[in-house]
């Protein structure tokens, strides 16, 4: 694996406080998910998952149709749809609109899609102020960091770190009480909401049949972002589409419970355009930016296409024993956890971080909790094969390839396999006890890696087949 990946993993494992923070935060979210999806709480849970998977599958397989339907409906309600092939087109659109309208201040709600394209950096580079309004995102924006978890962006920070950050960046007296820190943020952000020219949100779902954007939250910052400024821009990946508003009866039930163990988040907004007719408040202008940024590259592969069904609930992160040890910042891109492990190589190419699909024990806990039944282990296995094919093409990884060729050859020649086994037993350290170390010349490669952390089983006096023959 890359030195970077290895180092980040190692540093996270070595940080005891961080280990505790990650573990307890994910444990809480995991337990709440289990509680609210248990058979006594939601008897139809498995049925809903099957339905959600089927709806997503159908939508993705007919995505062009639904995008066009969505566009027609948005425009029928007075909004406008913009297609963006990448981050540059997204920021170009926002910048040109801001320029036309004389806009300087933007308020933003949490959107992994905008993280994906580094929108804030681009906007700020052009002199706009773009403020994150979700408390966790606000904190990490001040800290110039990436979100640590899809649902809990500042999971890794303590109140003391937040206190330091606020004092330094907001120039307020040091405050370590969490309620008071929240009040500081509320006050700062309220001013921004009321003064902002543009509100930018993501979208949890795009509803084709309604031309609507659906957004879920607990704080109220999304409602303010999309209702206070005169312009609302929703930026969403094209894969967020679902066909009908009625499908939300299934998706909303799954999203809240899977993500945070809530029956519904505090606010669920269904927005379909600028304010209408005699409605009193709401934006005058409504735009939906539909982002590709590589999603169309994932589409052709039928086996891996299911990666696009994701509704970004974060359940897989909370269930994953690997994520719960290495945390969000060890991952090489903005998306972490099992979903990050499967979409990153597909967006960035397998050579971006070739070890990423291998950073999994394939335990399957993610697939078990995914509300849309993405078979994440299956996609990981396919990506592993893709990595090895790419390595073969680039003439890399020859030694390992040779080793597995030898493995296959040995395993198809039983007598040679048996001889190899006897040879290994002959050079193994003697005795019945588990082996703590081997002589230096042998202490290489996988053997060395194993022994660095664990003891090895002793070589038995006879193999099974030898014992069987003697029965």
């Amino acid at each position: 694996m890359s030195v970077e990946f290895d180092r980040k993993i190692h540093n996270t494992l070595a940080d005891a406080d961080l280990q505790l923070a990650i573990y307890t935060a994910t444990a809480r979210l995991k337990d709440k998910r289990v509680e609210t999806t248990a058979p006594d709480a939601l008897p139809e849970y498995q049925e809903l998952r099957t339905q959600a998977h089927a709806v997503k599958k159908h939508t993705i397989e007919n995505l062009d149709y639904y995008l066009e339907e969505f566009e027609r409906n948005v425009e029928a309600h007075g909004g406008k749809v913009v297609y963006a092939k990448d981050g540059t087109e997204v920021s170009d659109f926002v910048l040109s609109l801001a320029k036309e309208r004389g806009a300087r201040l933007i308020v933003k709600s949490k959107s992994m899609t905008t993280e994906e394209v580094d929108l804030n950096e681009r906007l700020e580079h052009h002199g706009l102020e773009s403020v994150e309004t979700d408390l966790g995102e606000y904190i990490i924006q001040l800290a110039h960091e990436r979100p640590y978890h899809i649902v809990a962006p500042a999971l890794h920070m303590t109140r003391y770190q937040v206190a330091d950050l606020f004092t330094e960046r907001l120039k307020v007296p040091r405050e370590t009480v969490i309620e008071k820190q929240t009040a500081i943020a509320r006050k700062m952000l309220r001013q921004k909401f009321l003064a902002a020219d543009i509100g930018i949100s993501g979208a949890n779902f795009l509803v084709a049949g309604s031309g609507a954007v659906v957004l879920v939250e607990n704080e109220g910052n999304i409602r303010l972002t999309t209702s206070a400024p005169k312009i609302h821009i929703a930026i969403a990946g094209i894969e967020k589409m679902i066909p009908r508003a009625q499908d939300l009866a299934v998706f909303l039930k799954l999203l809240g419970r899977s993500g945070t163990g809530q029956l519904l988040t505090v606010y669920t907004s269904f927005l379909s355009g600028p304010r209408r007719g005699a409605e009193i408040d709401g934006p005058d202008e409504f735009y939906v930016v539909l982002l590709d940024n590589g999603r169309t590259r994932l589409l052709p592969d039928r086996g891996k296409r299911q990666s696009l069904y994701c509704i970004r609930c974060g359940a897989c992160l909370n269930a994953c024993p690997v994520y719960r040890k290495i945390g969000g910042h060890s991952f090489p891109w903005v998306y972490s956890g099992p979903i990050g492990a499967i979409i990153t190589p597909q967006f960035m190419g397998v050579s971006h971080e070739p070890a990423l699909p291998f950073a999994s024990s394939l335990c399957g806990a993610c697939a078990e909790v995914c509300p849309v039944k993405i078979d994440i282990p299956k996609v990981l296995l396919e990506l592993r094969s893709d990595v090895k094919k790419a390595e073969a093409r680039d003439q890399r990884g020859r030694l390992e390839k040779l080793a597995f060729r030898a493995f296959a050859w040995l395993m198809t020649h039983p007598r040679l396999y048996e001889m190899a086994g006897k040879l290994a037993a002959a050079v193994a350290p003697p005795g019945d006890g588990w082996i703590k170390s081997v002589p230096a010349p042998m202490n290489v490669g996988p053997l060395r890696a194993w022994l660095s952390q664990r003891d090895l089983p002793p070589a038995p006096a006879r193999s099974f087949r030898e014992m069987w023959r003697r029965r």
Binding site: M1, I9, L13, P321, K325, I326, A355, P357, F358, A359, S360, S361, L362, C363, G364, A365, A367, E368, K378, L381, R384, S385, D386, V387, K388, K389, E400, K401, F404, R405, F407, A408, W409, M411, T412, P414, Y417, G421, A424, A425, W434, G445, P446, A449, W450, S452, Q453, R454, D455, L456, P457, A459, P460, R462, S463, F464, R465, E466, M467, W468
Partner: protein
């Protein structure tokens, strides 16, 4: 179904834990099965498949298909190896209809050991006796790909002298994951440490499981830590008298 059973012991049993294979045969014979061991068997090919080498996995899989072509019923002391054959072989041969047909036939004939006992032999009580306090480790592939959860517990409940204590949290990965255990050794063992803490909280002397790869990982870590806790495969427990 007849009473002939072929053993697929798995390469790890053959080379490192042969007693598990012998114990499994013992239990099956006591139940009246005629047990054979097709000598040309080696490995299911999982290591190659999991490492991304599908051609090599296919080579090994074809050898497996040949070895067990005429076995009515195959029993294996491993959830992950059984799952490799029962679920993943089909993925490997999507483009080879003839081989795929053989795979489909094989899928119906291969059983993980505990599942064979409870579903095919329809027994819970194999007459075992072991005075011990144990806890049970749910191996991930067995649990999530084969639904192995209640079967081993029913079998353990009928072992005289045995007390079973459940781990909390349950169903957590031991950290082995095949080559993951060496490619990501530190991470793998951080996961094992969490498992071991759960084991220690039960106060059990023995960890029982249906997959030796998991047990090897757990025992390796326990041994390195100087713990007195041991691991036993379910077959060893059930063969105890």
């Amino acid at each position: 179904m007849g009473n002939r059973v072929s053993l697929f012991v798995t390469c790890i049993v053959d080379q490192l834990f042969p007693k598990v294979g012998m114990d499994m045969a013992d239990v099956l014979e006591r139940l009246g099965y005629q047990v054979d061991f097709p000598e040309s068997q080696t490995c299911c090919g999982q290591p190659a498949f999991n490492s991304g080498y599908r051609d090599e996995a296919r080579t090994v899989a074809r050898h497996f298909l040949d070895t067990f072509e005429s076995s009515e019923c195959i029993v294996a002391p491993s959830g992950s190896c059984t799952s490799m054959v029962a679920h993943h072989y089909a993925e490997l041969f999507q483009k080879e209809p003839e081989t795929l047909a053989r795979v489909h036939s094989l899928q119906k004939r291969i059983w993980e050991f505990s599942t064979f006992l409870t579903e095919v032999a329809s027994v819970d009580d194999v007459g075992a006796h072991l005075d011990d306090v144990v806890t049970f480790h749910d191996s991930c592939h067995g649990l999530r790909e084969l639904g192995i959860k209640d079967g081993p517990r029913r079998l353990l409940a009928r072992v005289r002298g045995l007390e079973l204590r459940e781990m909390q949290p349950a169903e957590e990965c031991c950290g082995f994951g095949g080559t993951f255990a060496v490619k990501f050794a530190e991470l793998s063992c951080a996961m094992t440490r969490t498992k071991i803490e759960a084991i220690e909280r039960t106060g059990a002397n023995t960890v029982v499981g249906v997959d030796l790869s998991c047990l090897m990982q757990i025992q390796g870590a326990l041994s390195r830590a100087g713990s007195k806790v041991r691991t036993m495969h379910l077959a060893e427990v059930l063969a105890s008298r």
